[in-house]
Symmetry: C2
Subunit: 398 residues, 2 copies
């Protein structure tokens, strides 16, 4: 186990019927709020009216930034930072999913940064002081509600990159499973895939002696494998939504990651798909992940034991032969996404029909994600190309 | 899953060779330190000299409170609070195991409390403002290094009671696995038993829909069952010590408990044993726990399923019959303590040879622990008596 530092001061308010705590939760940070949100879903659900009504009962000033898109764009960040300066705002209230919170994090830092906000994405060391953030999460997926990371896209340059800073950790996060009842099937499935991918990225790792972290990761995977399909079938199943929501938070708040070293893989490849084609992040991850798993098994026998542990401990697959168990586990993972979560498991099904950008995306993934370096299985540009190529047709061998 | 609030701001500094960070970690809280510790072990190990040397390189003022005993006594708390007032100290640096940190927590609050410190133990609502606490943990056991609880004993009244408050959560905790290399076998075993008991107390619970929390609990149990015996056999095995140390922290920082409701059982009974006989807390828990488990299985068939889940998921026991799997799991638990951890598993072996206080301790356990109320299996005074009585002889049936 490697040395680590962990400090996550986020005040988690988990559960239903507690939004009346919101004004008291915001008040310590100031009176003048930037309210950030996405499209119309929080207006359709009534959440927008509820939040404004709660804030209007007290003497808060609210300035709005709406229209923050999935794969949030740097232009939204620039707009938010300008509003904070113009109105001298004190605190950001982010209402929405991971995209709204990620954009709000970089807005919070950009308000104190003199240059262009994109600099903060290109170089996280430029992230310094930031406005405090309170959020109301409406989607179980990214884990941003209890960590310091953010991912922002720049459509002009076809870049989708991660940044972060200690000041960006949300101060208070409201996690109400009932607010996720209205999440569409597609987004519920994509969110579950995102959670699982976060766990895979951390779990398939070479650091020795991290049984504790691996055991927690396996426990969170089992939680998602059980409750993801229930949430898809019965959107208002409180227990399923609660387990998914809390799993999304714990999957990426440091519990699974701290004590390890080593980078991620599938996220880096998916970020290129999203940067060029703006596909749903979690769906891209679901498509890529089993192909990446098979690539690991096919090219590096030293990975068989860890994939076998995943198969035995998470899927309960019996058998003494590591490779057999491992390949069964990959097949289960693929079938989970395809059958249980109804995810279209090929790129053409999500609108990527041409292979003309495969080489370019592969080069950029290796470059941005440092995939030839310290990851579970280092990948060349050709390796990434083969993983993306394999994602154009259904998987038939595992 | 029940609603919950979780906020754990403790800054964890985990790993070896990082104690030079100590002065910078304390500095934000002030210059005048109350250094608290126990007997001579930190002097024998050299840790005391190292800490003082680091502090003396900077202009800290250090006042010492030594002699904090296992099952820490209220007199130490009173002494510490008096020192803080007398010298107008800013911050407590606790160096030791759970007892030193628990005493320091109540000292931190007592310094701001006008009445007798024992009031704060009898009534946690009287715990208000407190001095900040930084700690260097030397024993994997209680989890106090990342939570708001503390347990204090009063030998005059034979009481050992828990208290707590949000202000008591340590600000910075140094967790260095190498500092636990010199922990004796007895204390290593007791610490592992304490961690497991914390997990059992939370896991054997009636709240529905907490798969996530149960999965994390099972993962932490597996961690202790694997690494406890390694640490006993090879005291300087870094991986084993690291896994035990981090497991002790995560077992009781809210991750497993939040989202549930319902009280604890074995701790309440053990607190009476310690209050009257001053035995080692973790050893008392190891002795009582399998008897309590058997009592649950014998008297309440509705518990079979949860104990069977424990057997299957933690011990990998196969079988379709819940009761069979459950009883095998109890036997495994007993044998783990007895064989793998070399714990003497009867009360006479730890010096409790007379049964004269069994009734009195049972009455007090039910009273102090509210054991007839909302616990996994409610216990009458007679039930507790039978569990303690059964602890006088080796277990032969499970």
């Amino acid at each position: 186990m490697e040395n680590f530092r962990l400090q996550i001061p986020t005040d988690i308010r988990f559960g239903k019927d507690r939004l009346e705590e919101l004004p008291d939760a915001i008040a310590p940070f100031g009176k003048k709020i930037l309210l950030t949100y996405g499209g119309g879903s929080i207006k359709q659900s009534g959440l927008y009216d509820r939040v404004l009504s709660l804030l209007n009962e007290r003497d808060f000033t609210v300035v709005e930034l709406s229209g923050i898109a999935p794969n949030p764009k740097i232009d939204s960040v620039r707009q938010g930072a300008a509003l904070i300066r113009q109105h001298e705002l004190d605190v950001i209230l982010a209402v929405g999913g991971g995209s709204v919170i990620d954009a709000s994090k970089v807005i919070a830092a950009a308000a104190f940064y003199d240059g262009d906000a994109w600099d903060l994405v290109l170089d996280s060391s430029k992230v310094g002081k930031a406005l405090p953030i309170v959020d109301i999460l409406t989607l179980a997926a990214t884990g941003t509600e209890m960590n310091r990371g953010a991912v922002i896209s720049n459509p002009e340059t076809n870049e989708k990159l991660g940044t972060g800073g200690w000041e960006l950790i949300p101060r208070v996060s409201f996690l109400d499973p009932t607010l996720t009842y209205t999440v569409p099937r597609w987004q519920t499935a994509a969110g579950a895939a995102d959670i699982l991918s976060h766990l895979f990225e951390q779990y398939f790792n070479r650091t020795e002696g991290v049984d504790l972290q691996d055991n927690i990761a396996e426990g969170l995977m089992k939680t998602v494998f059980k409750h993801g399909p229930i949430a898809l079938q019965t959107p208002d199943d409180y227990t399923a939504r609660a387990n998914l929501l809390w799993a999304s938070t714990l999957a990426l708040n440091g519990l699974v990651e701290r004590g390890r070293q080593g980078g991620w893989t599938c996220h880096a490849i998916e970020h290129e798909l999203s940067a060029f084609y703006d596909i749903t992040h979690g769906i891209g991850l679901a498509i890529l992940t089993p192909r990446w798993m098979k690539h690991c098994l096919d090219t590096d026998a030293s990975t068989h034991a860890k994939f076998a542990a995943y198969g035995r401990n998470v899927w309960g697959i019996n058998g003494d032969n590591d490779e057999d168990v491992a390949r069964q586990a990959v097949e289960r993972t693929y079938q989970f996404f395809k059958e249980d979560m109804a995810i279209p498991m090929t790129l053409p099904e999500v609108g990527i029909v041409s292979k003309e950008l495969v080489s370019r995306m592969s080069e950029l993934a290796v470059h941005h994600g440092d995939l030839s370096g310290n990851v579970f299985v280092p990948l060349s540009v050709q390796d990434v190309e083969s993983i993306i190529e394999a994602s154009f047709a259904p998987m038939t061998a595992f």
